[in-house]
Subunit: 375 residues, 2 copies
């Protein structure tokens, strides 16, 4: 037998008999996808078919059951998308089933090198040894490359540690990728020269399937300090491939656009902790942007705290990924966020600063001071 990993599902079911039947269906659906009586005896049945390892009532006052199903490393075949297929492929189309947890195996550990930087690497690169790291976003779409480069400059001058593209900035005629890359690298570099700081520009490389790796490498060559990918749009193997390449060696930011349906209902998709925490670490992501509680999206404080746990708990020796709550962050909310997160997250502030465009540098300085204090 090859090594096995296991996935824990929450299953909605009226009683244990129904839960067991559903769990056995999952074990079949996620692996062989043929009727149980057609599964060939021997290797396929023993090795490839999912094994129901555990079934018990859900805890924490939830209804339903928790099922742990183990799968073979042989089924992964060294392919990350196939790992996701096994974890939740066809069963994602069912309701009353949710992915909650995963235990690792040799096959997964070999396939997924994990975050190259994570929290320790980001602290080293930014020079922020203590207190939260800060990231801002240049936008909106429609500004010229020069205007965006100026915003990046002003953010950097104000002491923001990372300045990323808005996820909607791709290769629009108003700000082509190549021009924006140059303008922002130059703008941030100019500010760093003035301040002696280490602000990094993070380029959004999400784009045409045939160009995404070219953009990643171009970003690196031209001096970007990180790249951003939207995995739900660009595919779930892009970040893993970049993180696994020692030559690439740049921090990777993951953006949640288009990913919403994967976690927004409590009885389908993934738990927040799994999707924005564990999964991102398998994907080799260094910084994971997610919607903050109390902002424009509906995530609760408890869900956000579970994301931070998933991002930073012990997990196969993988580095902790940096959670970056965003989406409606304002100055007024800093105390609330400090209480909720301490220094375990990166503060992502875009719109609230852009609003003070004329005084962007000063607004950034005020934000850095308010978030980091004298740390």
């Amino acid at each position: 037998m090859m090594a096995r990993f296991s996935v824990t599902y929450w299953i909605g079911a009226a009683d244990e008999q129904e839960a067991r039947a559903r769990a056995l269906d999952i074990a079949l659906e996620q692996t062989v996808e043929i009727p149980r009586d057609a599964v060939p005896a021997g290797y396929v049945e023993d090795e490839i078919l999912g094994h129901l390892e555990r079934l018990e009532p859900a805890l924490d006052g939830r209804s339903g059951f928790v099922a742990e199903i183990s799968y073979s490393d042989d089924d992964i075949g060294g392919d990350f998308l196939q790992l996701l297929n096994i974890i939740f492929g066809n069963s994602s189309i069912k309701t009353n089933i949710r992915v909650e947890d995963i235990s690792l195996s040799e096959g997964i550990l070999n396939l997924c090198s994990g975050p190259r930087f994570g929290m320790p690497g980001l602290r080293e690169r930014t020079g922020v040894a203590k207190g939260p790291i800060l990231m801002s976003a240049i936008k909106p779409v429609g500004l010229s490359a020069q205007e965006l480069g100026r915003l990046a400059h002003d953010f950097a001058l104000g002491g923001m540690d990372l300045v990323k593209d808005d996820h909607g900035l791709v290769d629009q005629r108003t700000s082509p990728f190549v021009d924006r890359l140059k303008a922002c690298v130059d703008g941030v570099g100019e500010a760093n020269a003035k301040t002696g700081g280490r602000t990094a520009y993070v380029a959004n490389i999400t784009g045409p399937a045939t160009q995404i790796f070219d953009r990643a490498w171009m970003a690196k060559e031209k001096g970007a300090g990180g790249v951003m990918v939207a995995p739900a749009l660009a595919g779930y193997d892009v970040t893993r491939a970049l993180a696994a390449d020692p030559e690439f060696n740049l921090p990777i930011v993951s953006h949640p656009t288009f990913a919403g349906p994967n976690m927004i209902t409590p009885t389908t998709g993934f738990s927040h902790r799994f999707y924005f925490g564990l999964l991102q670490r398998l994907m080799g992501v260094d910084v994971v942007v997610y919607p903050n509680f109390g902002g424009r999206f509906g995530f609760t404080l408890a869900e956000c705290q579970s994301i931070v746990r998933g991002a930073q708990m012990e997990f196969g020796g993988y580095k902790p990924v940096v959670p970056a709550p965003g989406g409606g962050m304002t100055f007024e909310r800093i105390p609330e966020m400090q209480a909720a997160y301490g220094e375990r997250v990166m503060y992502l502030v875009g719109g609230a600063l852009i609003r003070e465009k004329a005084n962007l540098t000063n607004a950034s300085k005020r934000l850095v001071a308010a978030v980091r204090g004298n740390a």
Copy 2:
């Protein structure tokens, strides 16, 4: 002003005032993602910001409202993933909002060449002028390339028009991609030589981000008659890029694995018609696999019929995509499916035939006869 396209959303709201506020939030969120009072006057406000074009109560006995929001071709920037960003990126993380429809524009029509084959092309390639086309799937994972090639041969000998890989078959050591490709092309070719038929082998090219296009071209070079992609895993631009390439010129099958959360709740994600119909046509998909009603998944008859409408209705001149309902199809269900779909769909039968492994060719012949009759 550039040409504009518009997206129609269903919005859950207690009254028109709330619906309007939510619609205006969407127009902002999907484009500039900064506070309304920070949107620069002129080009950004006039052109890039979404315009609320229409807001009215939902019909068909549904609660809530329907909002039509228009967006600029300039915002797309010739990038399909950015088009999806605009349609539903960040708003996908909200609940009580669902994508229902899209109107096209010059920018979309230039970017998306649509299905190269679609229903007419598939009929021509398979030689099935009338009656449903049939597709089967070789599986399970764990069989050798030779065993899978034998299954492909037997299906072809039995008259199945297309024989596709199971979506879980990637590059496992039991059946490496290259070996399986050869075994299946050879197996199907041998059967075609015996029957004079035109069965095509459809290779699953979903795999590592750095290899997916290589696999597509290898499949073509080695004689596959089509390729299969799981867009929710591999990214949403892969099929569009392949369909747009005149040199590639092979039918593309889209598989729904991992896509479930995008449409399984009625108040989030996409309508079935949009996701499995309109979107697939923009993606250049020729055959779209979706879960049939009454099978292992929870889709209703009405939802499935809406998929067929979305796949085949007039839509910017794009060819109709071939809907392929699968997931638990059996001989017994043929009359019910004929009543529901007529000859507008491709019958996808995997497990029910695999079960009769020893008599796969005869079982396939019986299925073809039962589905197509004397047509």
